[in-house]
């Protein structure tokens, strides 16, 4: 769902906006909702803006939750939204470890 023409109205605060959705990066439901109202209709865009799902657990816990918040605001079912792009490294890996890549086997 990347249709920029999608009209979802004006953002209005909700009572549970302070609820933390992404624990690693401490991103709240309100922040994600606001991002949707600012025109970010998929998980990749929201993630780039807010870093939700980019912390230690790499979205293993919050991936589904972020998706359902976004889908809820646009009025879609969560399965209609695509998951975040999966790319290496699939587990958090420090750069100095990458620098020691063994390539000659």
């Amino acid at each position: 769902m990347t249709d920029r023409q999608y009209i979802i109205g004006e953002f209005s605060p909700a009572s549970d906006d302070d609820l933390i959705i992404c624990r690693c990066e401490e991103i709240t439901k309100g922040e994600i909702r606001r991002a949707v109202f600012d025109g970010m209709f998929n998980i990749c865009e929201v993630r780039r803006l807010l870093r939700c799902g980019m912390g230690l657990c790499q979205g293993l816990t919050c991936g589904r939750l972020v998706k359902s918040v976004i889908a809820g605001e646009i009025g879609l079912s969560a399965t209609a939204l695509e998951d975040a792009t999966a790319r290496a490294p699939m587990r958090p890996t420090e750069m100095f470890i990458f620098a020691k890549e063994v390539t000659d086997e």
């Binding site: 549970d16 816990t61 790319r87 587990r91 470890i97 990458f98 890549e101 063994v102």
Partner: protein, 521 residues
């Protein structure tokens, strides 16, 4: 370094795949991010359902040991502490090992990365003390740490029910099991193990908030209507220090997605019958390809491995057909019954045999006395005999296989067990211990063995400490309500019972079909 087959994940599916492939002569490596192999198997301290070929009535931990012996003896190389951080469609993986990343290649890859727990956000969900049920299980059964003292479980699927029981075994108090759904999601027998110890179920209830400043000190649940909307003034408060969430699992399919496998909308890879994804010689087996029981995962792993062996020319088309035929048959047996994946949302009304499914069992977690008397395993009478309180079609038959006298009939794997009164039950208790659902009891009123007017009831009792012989206590009914004083007349423990001790207690005869649990007073 290169292999014929690389398996990602050393859980039930991955280890089974590795063992199967190695048995066909493939050079196999398994990679796992954890320090110990086995995935979730080693924390499954309960007995599995199924048939002999599915390792029924074995505990997950023992199945894990057996699988590791098999992979060891076949020369499978298992790399631990080795998270696979990248998977590419040319069947190359990137693995982090200590402070380096290394590349490995194989002709075939089986991804068996399992699943991760879903969590649910509510007010206070980030407080220490809120955890996944699986996390609590890891604390208890792997790390030997009690997760808390008073626990509320959200979720009545098999994970919630099984972990709930294990919390009791670890000495925690389980104050309640809540579920937003209107019926208990897991096996009735698992629920009944809890209710007879006094655990209440709150169906159509969800968590409103967790209380506490530094950690959980309480929880409030509230009722929801059929549209999952909160009904005002239905809040219930419990003092707890732990909240366990058993609200489902999500396949850990990120590596497959990264490699470019075609994915379906529910987050699983699109696979053919052998588990091969849209990418050539890259397979998915176990929970990563769809959440099921570990028993199914183990067979799926073997099916994928047999297919890989055939595609790489290690076995002939003919021997592949034979092997995959056996495995497919075993898998389709497990995928029968009212809890099978294809029946997941079907209404539970009647058993295959036409008996009414107990409404009380689905709502409250126990079957009522009126309901239970309908079933073919429930035949009250004189002498010693098994009383089988198995009332849902679940693929499982150890009770039939273990009885040395052939007293119990199970027509096909999902049929309800039938007690044949024309046989000679000797009261050996093997069926009581073998039943993975702990749903078989013995009643004994033989003159000379039991006092006049009394009956001895034998129950499976997987709690410590074991009762003291002739210890005073109370008998409880299926709902966990106290019935009458009862003393313990016998405690049996032996290797044949598979570490399920049997406790026999004596109650007045009119309690024979009511008393189903015993507690010391």
């Amino acid at each position: 370094m290169s292999f014929d087959l690389m398996v990602i994940g050393a859980g039930p599916a991955g280890l089974s795949a590795a063992a199967e492939a190695a048995s066909h002569g493939l050079k196999v490596a398994v990679f796992d991010e954890n320090a110990l192999p086995g995935g979730q198997l080693f924390k499954q301290i309960h007995k599995f359902f199924g048939s002999k070929e599915h390792k029924a009535k074995m505990r997950g931990i023992d199945i894990g040991i057996e699988l590791l012996e098999e992979t060891d003896s076949l020369g499978v190389k298992v790399f631990l502490n080795s998270p696979v951080v990248g998977l590419y469609k040319n069947r190359e993986i990137v693995v982090r090992q200590k402070e380096t990343v290394r590349h490995f290649k194989a002709d075939s890859i089986i991804v068996a990365t399992g699943a991760s727990e879903n969590l649910l956000p509510f007010d206070g969900w980030t407080l220490p003390g809120v955890m996944g049920a699986g996390a609590a299980q890891t604390m208890m059964n792997i790390n030997r740490v009690k997760p808390g003292n008073r626990v509320l479980m959200l979720g009545s699927g098999n994970v919630g029910l099984v972990v709930g029981f294990q919390l009791l075994q670890a000495g925690c108090e389980l104050v309640a099991i809540a579920d937003a759904a209107p019926r208990i999601g897991g096996y009735g027998v698992h629920a009944s193990k809890l209710t007879r110890t006094g655990v209440p179920f709150y169906l159509s209830h969800t968590i409103m908030r967790a209380e506490g400043r530094e950690n959980v000190t309480g929880v409030v649940i509230g009722q929801v209507d059929e549209n999952w909307q909160h009904i005002p003034d239905t809040e219930k408060h419990f003092e707890v220090d732990t909240i366990c969430l058993a609200v489902g699992l999500s396949p850990s399919a990120q590596l497959l997605k990264m490699a470019g496998c075609k994915m379906s909308q529910n987050g699983t890879p699109v696979c053919d019958k052998s588990g091969e994804t849209s990418l050539y010689n890259i397979f998915a087996a176990g929970d990563v390809s769809g959440i099921e029981e570990a028993s199914s995962a183990m067979i799926e792993g073997r099916i994928s491995a047999a297919a890989a062996a055939k595609k790489l020319g290690f076995i002939s088309e003919k021997s592949f057909q034979k092997r995959s035929g056996e495995l497919d048959a075993a898998l389709s047996e497990l995928r029968q019954g009212m809890f099978a994946p294809q029946n997941r949302n079907a209404p539970l009304e009647k058993t295959d045999e036409g008996f009414n499914i107990s409404k009380s069992l689905l709502k409250k977690g126990y079957i009522t006395e009126e309901e239970i008397s309908e079933y073919p395993g429930f035949k009250p009478g004189a002498g010693i005999r098994p009383v089988i309180e198995c009332t849902q079609n679940i693929p499982c038959d150890p009770c039939r296989d273990i009885c040395p006298k052939g007293c119990i009939k199970v027509e096909n794997i999902v049929s309800l067990p039938v007690y044949d009164e024309n046989t000679n039950c000797t009261g050996c208790g093997l069926c009581v211990a073998a039943c993975p659902g702990q749903a078989i009891f013995l009643t004994d009123d033989r003159p000379g063995k039991v006092e006049e007017g009394k009956v001895a009831i034998t129950i499976p009792y997987e709690f410590l400490p074991l009762p003291e012989k002739v210890g005073p206590g109370m008998a409880y009914d299926r709902s966990g309500a106290p019935l009458c004083p009862a003393y313990v007349s016998k405690i049996q423990e032996s290797a044949f019972l598979g570490k399920t001790p049997l406790v026999t207690f004596v109650v007045p005869k009119n309690m024979a079909m009511r008393a189903r649990f015993w507690k010391a007073v």
